[in-house]
């Protein structure tokens, strides 16, 4: 299906053709003016010829009326469709605006909060002493990251509840990266892990956080496209 704006443009062009027909076709159909055309010259040299001439003109006038009637109906249909498209366009603009106000800003700020926690967590993961690392990671994970993620999934769930997309969950987009994040945290919390394992887990954490951000931002764009 073509986007509304493209359809609207096409229907506008169609409407211009219809209006153009009404304005220009009488000029070509009755170059001498309507009254002159019917009245004709007052002197006749050959009556039969004149009658034929008038019959042809009447026929061409009927044709013109028939075509103009069709064009008028077409114009009316085009105008109605154009009006409805414009109205649906205004509605989708309103929906996008309310999405931006209600959800997008909240999602973005939650995500930024998580990203800030993520960089703190990465710094904490670099502590050489395992116990210190574990405690610091736990503190940030439990006090900052998890509440931040709960807020983020809350916004996504609100989006789920307010959207009419059947069988789809916006919140699902965050599942896989968040699972990977949580698994890597388990490694960082474990004091018995070797430095190499900790390094891999830190890297996995950073990658998963990036994926989480990308997933959310992609869903925001996807949702806006759907609203359009």
């Amino acid at each position: 299906m073509l986007p509304t704006k493209v359809l609207q443009r096409r229907f506008k062009i169609g409407t211009f053709f219809v209006v153009g027909w009404f304005l220009l076709s009488p000029v070509f159909a009755f170059p001498n003016g309507v009254a002159a055309d019917v009245r004709g010259p007052t002197q006749f040299a050959n009556l039969d010829e004149r009658i034929k001439q008038l019959e042809t003109k009447v026929q061409s006038r009927h044709n013109w009326i028939y075509v103009t009637g069709c064009v008028a109906v077409l114009g009316l249909i085009l105008s109605i469709i154009n009006f409805r498209l414009a109205r649906s366009d205004r509605r989708s603009d309103k929906k996008i605006k309310s999405f931006e106000t209600l959800y997008e800003a909240a999602l973005q700020s939650s995500l930024e909060r998580l990203e800030a926690c993520g960089s703190e967590l990465r710094t904490a993961a670099e502590f050489a002493e395992p116990k210190e690392r574990s405690e610091k990671v736990k503190e940030i994970w439990v006090n900052d990251f998890i509440p931040g993620h709960t807020a983020l999934t809350g916004h996504l769930r609100n989006l789920d509840e307010s959207s009419n997309v059947s069988g789809n969950s916006w919140a699902a987009c965050a599942d896989n990266p968040f699972d990977a994040l949580a698994k890597s945290i388990d490694v960082l919390l474990d004091v018995e892990r070797k430095p190499a394992e900790v390094a891999i887990a830190t890297e996995t954490f950073a990658c998963s956080l990036r994926e989480l951000g990308e997933a959310i931002r992609t869903e925001i764009i996807h949702y806006k496209i759907l609203l359009n």
Partner: protein, 111 residues
């Protein structure tokens, strides 16, 4: 009342975050939730303090069928009584809401 202790899923306290739909499904089988869903018994679920997080995907793997079967949050939480830290309880509530929210929209396989 039947009691389920999530400590069984933590490899002796090494796992602090319960993640992944597959792990949730395995836990469902391991703890025989299919049978518990059908019974009239209430189920007490103990979540130890060293579990910081139950991810939505884990919850969905483990409890989506139970939530759908009960049909409402109230009925689900009347049958399955979670004893946990408030933050974990909130995660569980949020995930259960998500199950119902998607299931109510008519998805054949929610989420």
């Amino acid at each position: 009342m039947i009691t389920i202790d999530f400590d069984e899923l933590t490899e002796g306290g090494r796992v602090h975050n319960l993640t992944g739909r597959d792990l949730g499904r395995r836990a469902r089988e391991q703890l025989n939730l299919e049978e518990l869903d059908k019974s009239d018994d209430e189920v007490r679920i103990l979540v130890p303090d060293h579990i910081y997080l139950i991810t939505p995907s884990f919850f969905i793997g483990m409890f989506a069928a139970s939530v759908s079967l009960q049909g409402s949050l109230d009925k689900f939480f009347q049958k399955y009584k979670f004893e946990s830290e408030p933050s974990v309880l909130r995660q569980v509530h949020d995930a259960a809401k998500r199950v119902l929210s998607v299931a109510n929209k008519g998805a054949s396989a929610p989420f």
